[in-house]
Symmetry: C2
Subunit: 423 residues, 2 copies
């Protein structure tokens, strides 16, 4: 038996497509529990329930101007030659209610946002009136007809009572906060953040505060992953590195499953002799979903289910680890949070520069988007090898290069997956 076939047998790798892999992992994603947070703390969280309007908005007829509330009928036939005089009988600041009824021939001074008296059907702005006084009474003079409804915002213009305001699964940002505050939702039902354990494997890893050593690198992937987990809406927990020892690894991962909702490891998933994740996910209590994906980088991305929870074993190569997270872990966290679109958003763009690498698997190439004259262009990074770390920071998208024997030429259309934080 050759070395190759022996290893194939040991790891039983059958490469599946990215889409198939995503379907497999999403099928096991359980909806997070609901918790209630004060409105000011809801930013970035995901709504766990539909929110409907408890009242129409606006809930009273609102003045759109600083001016005078009038009965438009009083201005019929009014011209600069035949002006109309109205007695000012009330003054309505914001937040106050009209204090008298407006009978014909009267007006109320009113502020933007204040309640229009029931008898009035229009507001005329200050600038269209002239003020005067006569025998201790205040008057305004109008020189033209005013249409009914002018500058009066009707009840329910924006929303009727019972309208769906925000649907479950919506991520909360400034606009959502504004709506929730408006309707008095001061305790907000949100999905609990999945608690995500992050392990690195490999005795080659130095701590980030350790001096450099020959042949060894610092552990950067766990911190990168923690950032990705937070961006995806999860709560990262960086655990101690797992040494290259199967029994210890099993124990640590076992403990993590008891405490966390999801477990990620980085490193230890290539076919090398010293990698233990591949063995680990073959335990009796673990259901392997896949251990090879038809993609570059990250073909060794592995996913398994243990006690109903996900275990993701990502590559130790920074580029492959990053992509493995974005394609498989992010959607699972998103689905747990209840978002309806858990994947990276996808656009089409024109490839800005030839990408000539030959691929037998789909490539997810780090790149940058540019817009010129309303057209999107995607530029692949100069270095996009699996092992390359430096171009992750300069990328705002992953360019999808399908399997091809000739690469993709500049000017051809490609799909791009937009990365979080990319603007």
């Amino acid at each position: 038996m050759s070395a190759l076939s022996e290893r194939e047998d040991k790891f039983r790798r059958r490469a599946i497509s990215v889409q198939e892999g995503q379907e497999k992992v999403l099928a096991f994603a359980k909806t997070a529990e609901t918790e209630w947070v004060p409105l000011p703390d809801a930013q970035g969280r995901v709504l766990a329930e539909d929110i409907s309007a408890p009242h129409p908005y606006p809930h009273f007829r609102r003045s759109g101007m600083d001016g005078f509330a009038i009965r438009s009928g009083d201005t019929v036939g009014c011209t600069s030659e035949r002006p109309v005089y109205l007695e000012v009988v009330d003054e309505i600041p914001c937040g106050s209610l009209p204090s008298v009824s407006l009978v014909p021939g009267t007006a109320a001074r009113i502020m933007t946002g204040a309640k229009v008296p029931d008898e009035a059907d229009a507001v005329v702005m200050f600038e269209m009136t002239e003020s005067g006084a006569d025998q201790g009474k205040d008057f305004i003079m109008l020189k033209r007809e005013i249409a009914p409804g002018s500058n009066v915002t009707p009840v329910g213009l924006e929303l009727a009572a019972g309208d769906l305001i925000l649907a479950r699964g919506r991520r909360i940002s400034a606009g959502e906060i504004s709506v929730l505050a408006t309707f008095g939702v001061y305790r907000v039902p949100v999905a609990k953040r999945p608690r995500v354990a992050i392990f690195s494997t490999g005795s080659e890893l130095l701590g980030i505060d350790e001096p450099l050593q020959d042949g060894r690198i610092r552990n950067s992937n766990t911190y990168m992953l923690a950032t990705q987990v937070r961006e995806a809406g999860g709560e990262p927990h960086i655990l101690e590195a797992i040494a290259d020892d199967l029994a210890t690894a099993r124990l640590k991962v076992q403990e993590a499953f008891a405490l966390y909702d999801l477990v990620i490891t980085t490193g230890g998933v290539s076919v090398g002799d010293f990698d233990i994740m591949a063995d680990l996910v073959r335990g009796d209590d673990v259901e392997m979903l896949f251990n090879k994906v038809m993609m570059r980088p990250g073909s060794v991305t592995t996913a398994a289910i243990k006690e109903g929870k996900h275990l993701f074993a990502l590559s130790g190569n920074p580029g492959a680890c990053f992509v493995g997270f974005e394609l498989f872990v992010r959607p699972v966290i998103g689905r747990m949070l209840g978002t309806d679109q858990p994947f990276l958003p996808e656009w089409e763009a024109e490839l800005g520069r030839d990408y000539t690498k030959v691929n037998n698997f789909t490539r997810f190439v780090r790149g940058r988007l540019e817009v010129r004259d309303g057209r999107l262009f995607a530029y692949p990074a100069a270095l996009d090898e699996s092992s390359v770390m430096i171009t992750i920071k300069d990328s705002d998208c992953l360019i999808v290069i399908p399997p091809s024997s000739r690469g993709v030429q500049a000017g051809e259309t490609v799909s791009v997956l937009r990365l979080p934080g990319a603007r």
Copy 2:
């Protein structure tokens, strides 16, 4: 004297362009102090110093494969008919150093990411070898020539020592965290978050937890602004609402300037009799920068400097408040943080639908971006009045509609300002 000219005099409003207003406020933006945070807490912060590579990366010749490190000269002339046999004399896991020198005719088993022995100049993957043993010695058989450099990542491929890794002003996300960890920057110099005080004005405002009352609305703008401040990189502090009383308002704002780096108010900047912000910013110790901008919504946006700090008096209308923040406050916070591009990022897009409102001022219309066939289309929201709150949440851009007597037709090119959080 007419009512109109009286008010003009009182508020001395001279409308300036958005760009002029932005230049005025940015001229007063002071750089925030530097603080040092642990790497895992640096996400979302802005780098306060340039970071250069303390060492090349990779800092040792790294194997790109699981396989055998060899001297490529040993394979010259090698074919399947004339295979070459190499004795395996070492085994190099990740993080270990070679233990023997590779003399001609020998090879070292090596793992991806491990240090390649100095004498070797290529790595050949397992799959291209056949293994065997003879007289207690392990051998591999090769059937073709291997090019020098194969599967060996040279020192400094990604970065040389001294290269600028990350420039001051860079916002820290997953890729930056990865780089900082790699280079052992475990305490990160970041700009202190500007502390931003947020006041609302207006006695019409109910708390978000109060029952609705006729003629009154809940205070939603301060919570929306707090969200916008956080997104911009500041630290929001929601203070008690200011009653419509000039003396109290002055005192509260005075106190806020002692405690915070920047003060925002919302409400009280229209020309109405009950608005006090306009009076407030006319105090002796306050330098007014502008109190009218040639834009809709938010033409009454007001900016002033007091004790070297910014005071922004934004409209009480939700739409106008939102836009006023994004166009004027966000850039100031960004500049304080040291970001080189503090404005909302701008793209060109094709207007997807006629926008027929006549404008004498530039309009910043809430809208949505769509991409079809690599082209960007911008769709204005159905309701975009200053007072409308509900469409903020559904917008991912502001469409810039220049002053026009006929509006803009579908198919024309417009600028769009992309909103934060928009993906």
